[in-house]
Symmetry: C2
Subunit: 404 residues, 2 copies
Amino acid sequence: MKEMEPFKLLVSHEKAKETILKTCIPIDRIENISIAGASGRVLASDVKANRSVPPFERSAMDGYAVIAEDTFGADESEIKLELDGVIHAGEVSDQEVSRGHCIQIATGSPMPSGANSVVMVEYTERHEDRILVTRPVYPGANVSKKGEDIVEGDLVLTTGAWLTPAKIGTLAALGWTHVDVFGRPRIAVIPTGEEIVAPGENLNPGQIYDVNSFTLEAILQAHGAQVDRFGIVGDDYSALKDTIEKALHYDMVVLSGGSSVGEKDLLAGILGDVGEVLFHGVQIKPGKPTLYGVAQSTPVFGMPGYPTSCLSNAYIFLVPAVRQMGRQPPAHQKTVLAKISKRLVSASGRMQFLTVRIRNGIAHPVYKHSGAITSMATADGYIILPINLDVIEEGDSVEVTLFE
Amino acid sequence: MKEMEPFKLLVSHEKAKETILKTCIPIDRIENISIAGASGRVLASDVKANRSVPPFERSAMDGYAVIAEDTFGADESEIKLELDGVIHAGEVSDQEVSRGHCIQIATGSPMPSGANSVVMVEYTERHEDRILVTRPVYPGANVSKKGEDIVEGDLVLTTGAWLTPAKIGTLAALGWTHVDVFGRPRIAVIPTGEEIVAPGENLNPGQIYDVNSFTLEAILQAHGAQVDRFGIVGDDYSALKDTIEKALHYDMVVLSGGSSVGEKDLLAGILGDVGEVLFHGVQIKPGKPTLYGVAQSTPVFGMPGYPTSCLSNAYIFLVPAVRQMGRQPPAHQKTVLAKISKRLVSASGRMQFLTVRIRNGIAHPVYKHSGAITSMATADGYIILPINLDVIEEGDSVEVTLFE
């Protein structure tokens, strides 16, 4: 019977994160995708304007295309212009505006030749085929010049830009249908454990349902990853090793369970055999039994088996890792300030991650222990108690990071 | 030739939003979907625990299952227990622990009968088949009782809960594979305008590319909607009316373009014919030419044609509307404080929405006019200048809402 060994060298939270970020390399793979699905993706090539925007001189207002000089003095004396016609949106007029004349024009329509400005409809009155102008305009008023916004050849967006809805719109304005973006991190999520059963199946004595592969999938997807959730693998050296080796073509492999120190906790051994263990055990509570290493350049995480520990470490370690790989901007995790409902004493000598529920500005700790599911079900977010914290008094203000 | 009429009664931003939220009713449709895709969805039925969690009494630690009384005094004198065997994860042992004996046990394994506590491996030493215990434990130490976390029949989650990764995990822990959620708002996005051409097609003189249907799709999807982007419809009464009527089976119809006051701006007339116009024109800059109404109980938005106006009104009006329909919690839009790079004078008598770029804590206005695409491409977010604002001095602090 193999002996159980306790964790020997716990790394600090900071050191663990540094090690992870050093080895989760941003993805260089490039995909060409439709702009319709490109929001939230990251641009993989510079975008130069292949045309000017606007592509022609156009009216910026609904009104009348005029020669500005004809309107001078309109605020003092009555000026009427002859209405020669109308230009609808999308139409190019072959009429020319001459002195004393005007053409009705819609916003966005190409300016007719001869005219140099537009009088807004608000500052006119219509008298049959004559238009009374009540305010003068200067030359160029209410007209957008060709290329005023973007000149052909301009560098409009650069590699690495995060494609917001506004930037998607910019690509559309230039006529682009597809765009080069960096690939999303492809992640294998592998639940392990002899006692783990997939939801929906029968639960025999001693068995529990797989929780972690579902929470991990949801979190990783929310931060830009493409996740394949594997079937459950038991605590068997060769089955686990085979599965891990086959998963190393992913950008990242995330296992849950099997990183504790029990006899059957084989992952550290397997990771050492197929690659290199970079740390095993972190000074953090919950979440101590966390394993991390690299095999064939692929980062491999062994997340704690306990649901709350797995969840908190996913937020603390996996989210920054996957965002860096996917070249996403750092997560703006939403935080709120609240008053803590009771005195908290930190006695663990580890950084603590404490789930709380917020009601009326009060943060109520709901953390029971790392195996408790209710601490996840009722929690609105979490607070972090630093490693050097002694005590937080009831009513002290705490920053709560919301689960979103 | 039909006369152009300027907007007559502009509604305030507040009144417009109130009208919208009164008529965008939360969706009652229910779908049963896999928990694997349920993150971010909204629970449509209460979740009662159909089993206890944990489903059996189990060890909370790696260590040795013992009778606590055998360990009393272990910190003062040497206590050794006979090791009778091992319980692996997922196994149920038929061995019973008797006085002076212990069984090695892994975290999560069912407690053997006879034992009432677990000594952590850290507080033991192994001497062949005898285990030296170096710290006493109290009865119940490191043991999770059956139902300690959730008792069968407990109400665990309630209707309306927003499914975070943690709550997805809770469903999995209870063995659920599928869950009832409210339907996502199904939205028809319809680009209109005689001069509008789909990206990828040839641009003839006087034509521009469709921008708004892409920005609208991206924003609406990000806030939980399921979007169908329609083909472009020209400025033709019967074609537009047909398209709108056929789209009224959606939960919301969003048109872009065609809500200005030009001769060909038919939407207000059509909406009046098929339903009711609730407002046309808002005291906001850019974004004044916004149309809103209801037809056959379906909210219909006529968004401004200009890209920047359409975008800002999407953030201001569409996002709260679609989140309310989808029963999503209000958007926590991310904001940062920055100093404004130059003096701004508000002379419009309208609330102003100004796109800015942030560099080194300074917010640089990039807004040119409502037709400018670059104001979207280079913007990091926007500031809102209230209707009663007179002036903002250079260096004043402004709150920037980030485009995300």
